[in-house]
Amino acid sequence: MENKNKESKIRQLTDKQKTELAELEATLIGLIDCVQTISVSKEKEKVLSNIAKTQKKIKHIKLGGILSKETKRNLVAYSFIAPNFIGFMVFTLGPIMFAFLLSFMKWDGNNAMDFVGINNFLRLTDDVRFKAAFVNTVVYSLATVPLTLLFALGLAIILNQKVKFRNVFRTASFFPYVASLVAVAAVWNMLFSPANGPVNMLLANLGVAVKNLPKWAADKHFAMLTVILFSVWKSMGYYMVIYLAGLQGISAEMYEAASLDGANSWQKFKSITWPMLQPTTFFVVVILTINCFKVYDQIYMITQGGPGTSTLVLVYHIYDTAFKSWDLGYASAISVVLFLLVLIVTLVQFKGEKKYANS
């Protein structure tokens, strides 16, 4: 039984390996014959070591044959994955798990960690800044998601038609997305400067009284609006490209058939474009919402969370708590809340998508 098993394993060898194996076995027999006739111990030792080497080679080829199918295939695949996966495990997966662990600890980064259970999470309920950050993040997302979606879809529909200089228009509307945030936020701050910025100058020229001119980032009622306008302007080009890709998946015949039936543009949009784009819209909403929850850079560049706490968002609060107060466990607890927020939104949207697909 065992022998048969071995036989079948050996059969998986290639022809080349088989000849090599036969040759080695012949050599081995020759060597063993030889060793019996030699009496000089030095020579004998040499031949014995040769025997051992040959036996090792035979074993290696046989085992190599066994490895070749299953294990070898796995090893090749792992060699493809390893360069990325090891880095991914150490620098992403590890820290993610560490983050959850840390949310139950009290730690200043230097002294030993203290296990505090759910204390960090209980602290959140009394934290005024956390509450403001939470509400602001939600408000920011609720405004930014639909606005960006609307503009991105509108622009994509226009740019999906045969218009002249289509590529120039596409590139132009995508450019804010790839442009450095620090640079464009600097322009934005100047354009919306309350005292002499071109936007307020324009408003004044249009007849808005000087005392009614908004102070934009400096006014707690307008600061969030300034950030939202900036975000929509900066990122709509990206979502437009995603919508363009979605639109290209709708066949032209559907529109032709609708035209023959005398449908107007709005009817075509309502009964073809919008329903056909449902998967794309779903994807855009999920990605957009997650990105809104992560907002930080533009807040830092335009309002620094102020005035007061009017534009303080979760990530800003995490940053301050971690790298200014060095309250690392508590910062991780806020991170966990951020994570749960993302998780809930994603799950709700997936559920909604399923319901839509079934109905």
Binding site: F88, A183, V187, P198
Partner: protein, 276 residues
Amino acid sequence: MKTSKIKLSRILLYAVLIFITLLMLIPFVWMLSASLKLDKDVFTFPIQWIPENPRWQNYKNIWTKIPLAKFILNTTKLTLIVTTLQILTSSFAAYAFAKLQFKNRNLLFLAYVATIAVPWQVYMVPQFMMMRSFGLNDTHLAIIFLQTFSAFGVFMMRQFYQGIPDELCEAARIDGMSEYKIYKRIMLPLSKPALSTLVIFTFVGTWNDFLGPMIYLKTESKKTLQIGLRMFISQYSSEYGLIMAASVISLIPVLIIFIALQKYFVEGIASTGIKG
């Protein structure tokens, strides 16, 4: 009657298009214009789009006002290393996930997918503490590790490779090609659109990254362009011309990469399924 109606809707279409394009581009034109002005002329109204005496001096002065060359050098180095590593390692891994059968394949891939939705900000604190314990804070290596191993790259490349027929690989295998050769000779040349898309995202992401370098890089000579620019803006907040000149300079490499690769871009997004 009908043709005039079509003509009118065409005109309206172009009007909307030009209006939106202007909205997208005006800030950049204003930036360029302001970068050639004296500080006192930046806010004149009505806006003087083309300055009478363009002040090219701003583009000269900015190099001496801050170590701009050093910042650019640092950012270029980081961006090139990260983009190359990211492209290589993620397309390599993606090939295995898309075209090879192996033990625990789905489990390992699930690990990638599950982390895509976890915002980096959730684990930036423990990640920082870990890097610090490796002695990597205030080093460029930290930024490289931070940016290179993204789950997004692997996910995107895998989606693309799945669209390539398996028969192609099978045929090559029967011809006795090793998996490494199949990857190099067949998959890589076919994946130009996806690679271009990933190059744009990685290049732009690393070049423009702000929070990462801000947390890790403390020594001035190691800082990147974005933090340098930010530093300059807060220190010399009324040197408008210089701020705008530096901003224009910071946009040039991204503009070049984007224009060079953009013809593959929509194709890449369409075929990799990041459209959902």
